[in-house]
Amino acid sequence: MSSILIIILSLCSIGIVAAIILYLFAQKFKVPEDPIIHDVEDALPAANCGGCGYPSCKIFAEACVNSDSLDDLYCPVGGQETMDIVANLLGKEVKQTDPRVAVIRCSGSFENRPRTNHYDGASSCAVASALYVGDTDCPVGCLSMDDCVEVCEFEAIYMNRKTGLPVVIDEKCTACGACVEACPRDIIELRKQNKKDRHIFVSCINKEKGGIARKYCSVACIGCTKCFKVCEFEAITMGNNLAFIDSDMCALCRRCVTECPTNAILEINFPPRRTKTDEEKKTASDKISEKVKTDIKE
């Protein structure tokens, strides 16, 4: 039985010595660290994706703890829920940001926008855009070279090869904004996510005068202000020959869509219109939204 005693004695003494030394060390070399950082980190999704703009979840947690307000801090992966938890933990207010989704504000498909030259360089929107105006005359239109597609980590964008325009798959988009950053032409905008993924927006960012814009592209916004006049919700603003629909104000009434003479306003994911007059006047956006649906199904 004495060997058991030795075993017990030696192991226990090692254990206790370790405990005591550890305790003393912990006391002596204590470094103040905010335990709250740890808690915040726990609340985050730990994806370390960088979507928030910080290199890791831990650093983002530190940023949350150290900044006065959480307004500029948003974890796209965890979403509003997570930010609420973080805010709770820290006792800070978070700005209520509605869920957002990326939309492509260009309708200059091959059909709508004549090509004026042929590009033969490295296949990258950024390279082409830095080089020159692009293979159409529109200086702000989509270059169709997939920079946004490549940068999306969630495979939420694909390029429709028939139109030469990227398409966002709303369900997959996390509104991380990577594509917005990547697009050299600033075509992509994060807009409020409406129910059933419905969107109404001006799918053009060309600020040229109407005539010129129209020459480049048959569905350009020509700044005619018709939509502006028809909107009852003051969601539309005009500036530099361009209309803009504020997604936070828009009530999705669809009045502006039919008003637009160039079909520059798109309505996506709406049920088809039933009135007879609209049948013949089927808008470009209808066509595109139908196309989107079939594409996704494929």
Partner: protein
Amino acid sequence: MRRNQALTTYKKGGIHPAEYKLTDKSPVQILPLPEKVTILLSQHIGVPAIPVVSKGDTVKVGQLIAQGKGFVSANIHSSVSGKVVKIDSLPDLTGYKKSAIVIEVEGDDWEENIIQSTDLLKDITLSKDEILEKIRESGIVGLGGAAFPSHVKLILPRDKKAEALIINGVECEPYLTSDHRLMLEYGEEMMVGIRILMKVLNVRKAMIGIENNKADAIYHLTDIASKFPGIEVYPLKVKYPQGSEKQLIEALTGREVPSRKLPVDVGVIVHNISTAYAVYEAVQKNKPLINRIVTVSGKSLKKPSNFVVRIGTSVRFLIEAAGGLPENTGKVISGGLMMGKALNSLDVPVIKGMSGILVIPEDETKRKPIEPCIRCSKCVTVCPMGLEPYLLMSLTQNGNFYRLEKEMVLDCLECGSCSYICPANRPLLDYIRLGKTDVKKII
């Protein structure tokens, strides 16, 4: 006297593309006046000039129409006489719209103080400051390609001193011959221009670097140089991109301009041959920079030629004068094959920095399909700046800008040697250029 001397060149990298100097025997012709010119207000590096005329004004040849504001900027003069019909945004060489003045040509009415005779005026009467002012007023920019306002280069920082002036007569790009013809036909005027520059810079020595493939120019200039004290001609081995400032300085003096430093830091100033000629005209004849020699060339063109062209003339007009655009044209390039810009439209105007228009047939323009890098290190070997293009490209593609900066991407000359040599047809320079822009954004 230097004819038997061993040819020098720079040490590192370089390539040897085909030369295609089709027009080196074609004397410079004066191009007829066009009906209309479009003068861009941003033809130089720096702040665009501000218009000082308005729509409807009549202007004379050589009249100031836009003024350079700010330290790095340049004046712009009317190259024709006539009526200002439009001041608007118009596509520049990249197709993006930039401010421009459109003048409809009426007659050829010059400003009175411009001396139009072709007599050689050899005596330099103006003082150093007066010369400098004259150069600034005349809107002279570097005609070697970068179009950097010349007067800025001539004002040395207080603590720096130039020991020598280097004149860049290398013209290492394929096809281009405008500098070559200028050296042959206006050699003496150019020499006077060099003397003027030497006076401003207060240097005793000027070195003209000319590549060995322009033997006639070397002989010619060596002969007349004996009449101009301090000026010497140095024949150089043919190697691209010898025309680049840093490489030329090394070839001639053995000194290397350190990264992100200017030539003055090693005691030299570099000017192009055409710039020297423009300086001569400005100082001795009061003539601002309103025209330049442009090589219009290409194997498919009927009449490849060297033209004296008024700034603002449309490229289409030039090509018509050279026999019209051939049916099979694929690319029209402003500048040389290695560094030039491909144009997306012929309706763009000639600018001060445009040294040539090249018309390239369709079958020669196609880029070959990109293949994976086989790490052959040829791009590393040819890079004159000692960079690693293959790495810079993939770092750019991966968005690793921090490392990109560390790998000195900003030193890249954009000479294109790497893309030229790559056996896998990789668009190295396309991405490196992008990388440079991105790095500049973060630092």
